[in-house]
């Protein structure tokens, strides 16, 4: 039964290749979380094809909506607001979610809340444990590598970001060079566990004190090593390449994250995004933060990859803070997190 004080958010996420709808109660209580993945379709192309992603979203959207409501056992009348990912992401894909959300909000005269995709990844953790501020979030995915400090709800300060490839992107490219299937991240993680880091690949620390990242040099170094070995007729063990590459990525991620956590005196470290599923990264962070009074939160696998529960969790706070979108809400493929933060703080 819904109490008068309870808040129910229905959220939609279609920024890339997952059509997702979730219903969350009071910002933290997950009632349903339905994800229709298109990965099998995109595997044929070795990556996500935007036009095909948009076509799949429109095939799935009402099916996923219906399943999410049924699983939650909630009627539309009980929903307090509709939250939707407005960006960043693939514009054609985002448009399906945004227009579906507007249709529902309009049909039932419910408030509409636009949510930033990365804010969502961070808030996925709040479904597991309440935040304590200040907190630091390391967001690592196919499109993002960022360090974000939050002093309060809805406040996002980006202190470091990638200057070229995102970590997940580097994983996919190296996986491709090693002839591993798409998406390559999980395969590298698995191979790395069986190999040894025998090759000393570079670590891009950048200027002293910088929290930015760069992975394109590392990616090139891996390619060159493979190329040189091939020319000399040598065969390198894939497992060792994977282990050496992964060690370089994780070394930089963990070291910078640890330094930022100390400098900003945070109470919590939150890991978010698809690469948070990486076992090597999880182990590396746990080891580095062992014995520290910093609470390390890593969401379960189902909440690491793209889903709508995280959008509902972030949308719940934005809704509470009074953020509302109009019927003219558009998809914003390059929405910046800091601009979004300013808006939701109003």
């Amino acid at each position: 039964m819904k109490q008068k004080t309870d808040q129910y958010i229905l959220a939609i996420e279609t920024s890339c290749d997952e059509t997702a709808v979730a219903i969350v109660k009071n910002g933290r209580d997950l009632l349903s979380n339905v994800v229709a993945s298109q990965i099998e379709s995109h595997k044929r192309f070795g990556g996500v094809v935007p036009e095909i992603a948009s076509r799949h979203h429109i095939e799935q959207i009402t099916i996923v909506l219906e399943e999410a409501l049924q699983k939650a056992g909630v009627t539309m009348e009980e929903i307090d607001a509709i939250a939707v990912t407005e960006g960043p992401g693939l514009v054609g894909a985002l448009l399906i979610g945004v227009n579906a959300a507007k249709a529902i909000a309009y049909a039932h005269q419910k408030p509409l809340v636009g949510v930033h995709h990365i804010a969502g990844h961070i808030y996925a953790n709040r479904l597991e444990k309440e935040f304590s501020f200040p907190l630091l979030s390391l967001v690592v995915s196919g499109g993002h590598t960022e360090l974000i400090v939050m002093k309060e709800h809805g406040d996002f300060q980006v202190i470091g970001e990638t200057r070229d490839d995102a970590a997940g992107e580097a994983y996919d490219k190296v996986a491709k060079a090693l002839d591993l299937p798409y998406p390559g991240g999980p395969y590298i993680d698995r191979l790395a566990a069986e190999g040894e880091a025998t090759i000393d690949f570079p670590r891009a620390w950048l200027e002293e004190g910088s929290y930015d990242f760069s992975f394109s040099g590392l990616k090139t170094a891996v390619m060159n090593t493979l190329h040189n070995a091939r020319q000399k007729g040598k065969t390198l063990k894939k497992e060792d390449i994977a282990a050496s590459f992964q060690e370089s990525v994780i070394d930089v991620l963990v070291t910078k994250t640890y330094r930022a956590a100390r400098e900003y005196e945070v109470k919590q470290l939150i890991v978010a995004g698809g690469v948070a599923a990486n076992k090597g990264l999880r182990a590396g962070l746990k080891e580095q933060f062992a014995g520290e009074a910093i609470d390390v939160l890593i969401p379960p696998l189902s909440l690491c990859t793209d889903n709508a529960a995280m959008i509902a969790a972030a949308g719940s706070v934005a809704f509470e803070q009074g953020h509302r979108a109009g019927l003219d809400l558009n998809a914003n493929p390059s929405l910046s997190l800091e601009r979004y933060a300013k808006r939701s703080k109003r």
């Binding site: 044929r44 192309f45 094809v49 036009e51 095909i52 948009s54 076509r55 429109i58 095939e59 959207i61 009402t62 099916i63 909506l65 219906e66 539309m76 054609g92 448009l95 399906i96 945004v98 227009n99 579906a100 507007k102 249709a103 529902i104 309009y106 049909a107 039932h108 005269q109 109009g326 019927l327 003219d328 809400l329 558009n330 998809a331």
Partner: protein
């Protein structure tokens, strides 16, 4: 019976409310603007003017393509989600058929077409039969000059209704001469009131499986099929 009709398949955006066969309100623009921004406020506006709430809509008719992929998807996503959440029937009508109705009383053939870039068009041919148009040539994605040759062999006057005439007028006149009639500018604008009229008595679609008619595979898909040796457009 209140019908909401939506067409965003090309640059023109049009939405209308009909009560039976009576138009109550219509809003049509022909500007290079994002349909995703403008569509929902436009629907809100005409429903207000019509004095009906979303819950009082009984049926939705939407242009299901062909046209701009993104444009068609904005209309179909909005229409499909509205129909689902309001639990009302939805009917899809070909965007080409809706455009052809602007030439309803033309005694010969009516060819509607939309530019599909690189000399190609989405096109179809209709002819009036009593109170409706019936297809003479089914909708296709085709090289426009090939299409015009096909029309030439029909040996009947053809009325052309479409968009981007600056690109195609010369070809039409050159290949068909006096056989071709090009409609006046105001007749090229598809109107949602016409769409609603066409769809009002047609059967409802299966909601969940209702998707646009693109008439063309995504480029990556076509290439993928080609490399597997069974590709054709």
């Amino acid at each position: 019976m209140n019908i909401l009709a939506i067409d965003t398949s090309n640059q023109v955006m049009s939405t209308a409310v009909l009560n039976g066969d009576q138009l109550i309100a219509e809003y049509t623009t022909n500007v290079k603007k994002n349909h995703s921004v403008a569509l929902m406020p436009a629907i809100d506006n005409i429903l207000r003017d019509a004095g009906i709430t979303p819950g009082e809509i009984h049926k939705i008719v939407v242009a299901r393509g062909p046209g701009s992929y993104t444009g068609v998807r904005i209309g179909v996503t909005t229409a499909k989600t509205l129909a689902w959440t309001l639990n009302i029937p939805i009917t899809g009508v070909s965007s080409l058929e809706a455009a052809a109705y602007n030439g309803f009383y033309f005694p010969g053939l009516i060819c509607s077409f939309f530019d599909a870039r690189r000399g190609r068009v989405f096109a179809a041919v209709y002819k009036r039969d009593g109170k409706q148009l019936i297809p003479v040539l089914e909708e296709k994605n085709i090289q426009f000059t090939d299409w015009l040759q096909e029309l030439k062999s029909q040996k009947e006057q053809v009325l052309f209704i479409g968009n981007n005439f600056s690109l195609h007028r010369e070809n039409i006149q050159e290949l068909l001469g006096d056989q071709a009639v090009i409609a006046e500018a105001f007749m090229h604008i598809p109107r949602a009131s016409v769409l609603g009229h066409i769809g009002k008595d047609r059967d409802a679609e299966d909601l969940h499986s209702f998707t646009p008619h693109y008439l063309r595979l995504a480029e990556a898909e076509a290439k993928w099929l080609q490399t597997r040796g069974n590709g054709h457009e």
